[in-house]
């Protein structure tokens, strides 16, 4: 079978994904090079982050991505009901991510930490919050796809919408895979 020339989902979402990846790439590089000039500061305050929360969140995102993969597989077998259920499960994992991340923010904010506290926290809060907003956007997209799937708008023959939402959600997951070691672990 000939391989297709285009990635799954709408091509426009892939252009959007590339733009988003560029944004995160610049952010990651800025973090890394700024850290190189403030190694002590970054190493000190990195220790105040909660790695267990980050673990839960990483697992939550990976799992939800996996559920989305299963949702796409279901619709390819013309099973919209199962597709809908997998998407709901993925959304539940996304919600878990938002809750855990909010708890982390609450912890930091209650200690009076904000964007002006120091350069490390500036980056930590900005990067993770930018990603946080992407999780929300990704969940909105998944929810829209899930509702359409429940109404039976997709089929094995035509399910570009499911693939489009899935591709975006995997991007959100992918970015976190880099963010987790970069901000929480590497020292």
């Amino acid at each position: 079978m000939e391989k297709p020339r285009w990635p799954p989902g709408d091509l426009v979402i892939w252009i959007f994904i590339l733009a988003e990846l560029l944004a995160f790439g610049i952010f990651f590089a800025a973090y890394a090079f700024t850290r190189a000039n403030h190694v002590e500061l970054f190493n000190t305050y990195q220790l105040t982050l909660d790695r267990n929360a980050a673990l839960i969140n990483t697992v939550a995102l990976i799992t939800s991505s996996y559920f989305v993969v299963r949702a796409v597989a279901s619709i390819r077998q013309d099973d919209s009901r199962r597709c809908f259920h997998w998407l709901l499960a993925a959304l539940a994992m996304g919600t878990l991510f938002l809750l855990v991340k909010s708890a982390e923010y609450h912890h930091h904010f209650s200690q009076g930490i904000n964007l002006s506290t120091n350069t490390f926290y500036m980056f930590y809060l900005s990067l993770t919050f930018f990603h946080f907003l992407h999780v929300i956007l990704g969940m909105v997209i998944l929810l829209a796809v899930a509702l359409k799937a429940r109404r039976g708008c997709y089929s094995a023959a035509e399910h570009t919408g499911v693939e489009t939402g899935a591709s975006y959600w995997h991007m959100v997951d992918l970015v976190w895979m880099i963010l987790f070691p970069l901000v929480y672990v590497m020292r």
């Binding site: 426009v12 252009i15 733009a19 560029l22 944004a23 964007l115 002006s116 500036m122 900005s126």
Partner: protein, 468 residues
Amino acid sequence: MKYQSQKVAKLYFIAAIGLFVGQILFGLIIGAQYIWGDFLFPTLPFNQARAVHTNLLIVWLIFGFMGAAYYLVPEEAETDLVMPWLAKLMFWIFLAAGAATIVGYIVMPFADLAKLTQNDLFPTMGREFLEQPTITKLGIVVVALAFLANIGFTILKGRKTVINLVLLMGLTGLAVFFLFAFFNPTNIVWDKYYWWWVVHLWVEGVWELILGSILAFILIKTTGVDREVIEKWLYVIIAMTLITGIVGTGHHYYWIGTPEFWQWWGSIFSALEPIPFFMMTVFAFNMVNKRRRNHPNKAAVLWALGTAVMAFLGAGVWGFLHTLAPVNYYTHGTQITAAHGHMAFYGAYVMINLAIISYAMPLLRGREAANSNKSQVLEMWSFWLMTISIVFITLFLTAAGILQVYLQRFSDNPLPFMVVQSKIELFYVLRELTGLVFLAGLIVYVASFFVGSREPEATVEGEVVAAS
């Protein structure tokens, strides 16, 4: 033209072009004042003439946007405008208020204008681009509300297309952010902070939505590409615009007394602002390449493609040039900014207005689809004259800016401002001469409305094209 009420757009377009001519004349005056400092002094000092130049620009662009909205909203919604009389009434109110304000700037010192309009009661005057007397600002709000009601109810009544909704979002944003023109904190940091909510969030935020939707409309009409494809592009372009543009406001917050994180936020997000403009370029060329038919209005297609390219260059590339905080540390408020301002405004907002005017005017004047070949040729000449001169104006100002940054701020022995100004005078002379070429282009543009208007319509590949 499918709906009778679209006709009101014509008034707005004519006013826009008239004010455009005024803007360029005042541009030439202040350009001359860069060379001969006392030119027309004390009758018309630089600060007042500059306010006229910039205010006329903003007002005519808004006239153009309103005209565009009155033209395309009924067509998209497939229903007549709910209150065409209100559109006409507001046109005259807006024009009268605008004209009175401009006359005020010209005939009396700014302080006298402030006194005359009772600025003391509710002071809002004097800030760059928001110089208008408070009463004018209130008038603008009334006009904007009436306009939004008219457009909004029309959209609600009719078919809801993505183009209409994005346009409505942009126009609502335009009105909402203008409200910050009334907010005038005494703390100068807060003052500047919110001032940018009008200035930046207009041109690098909501206006881009207006630009995107008008461009999408023209492309649907002239290329015949599926609406669905164009709408998808519009979605990602506006999403990217809002993500980068809103936080990108930070690139104005580097040196005004705001917290340091703005240097990061501003640098990173505004560095990404060229992306939506680049997408727009790819989008426009893609759609024209995929076109299902050749539209006889070649001039309109040229303007649309020109917008996509020049907006990317002017707003995207020239903006990126000085947007990173470490660069802006040196270039802030120099001729680099002026260079960027000229090409960005021309490329993005002047050209999109001329594009929709080019598309709609022949139809509003009773043509089936396009002007005669003769007037289109003239219009395309004006396109190249104006576009090439703006490119050269931008290049001259960029050169002046680089020299200015070096001599005044970067070299080991920095020179005083005025000394530097006299050293870079050559570039101001070149800019002024190029400005005259621009004026020539504008005259050709205006002439294109009158020349060849009795000749038969242009056709595609020899066959007469039926109604668009």
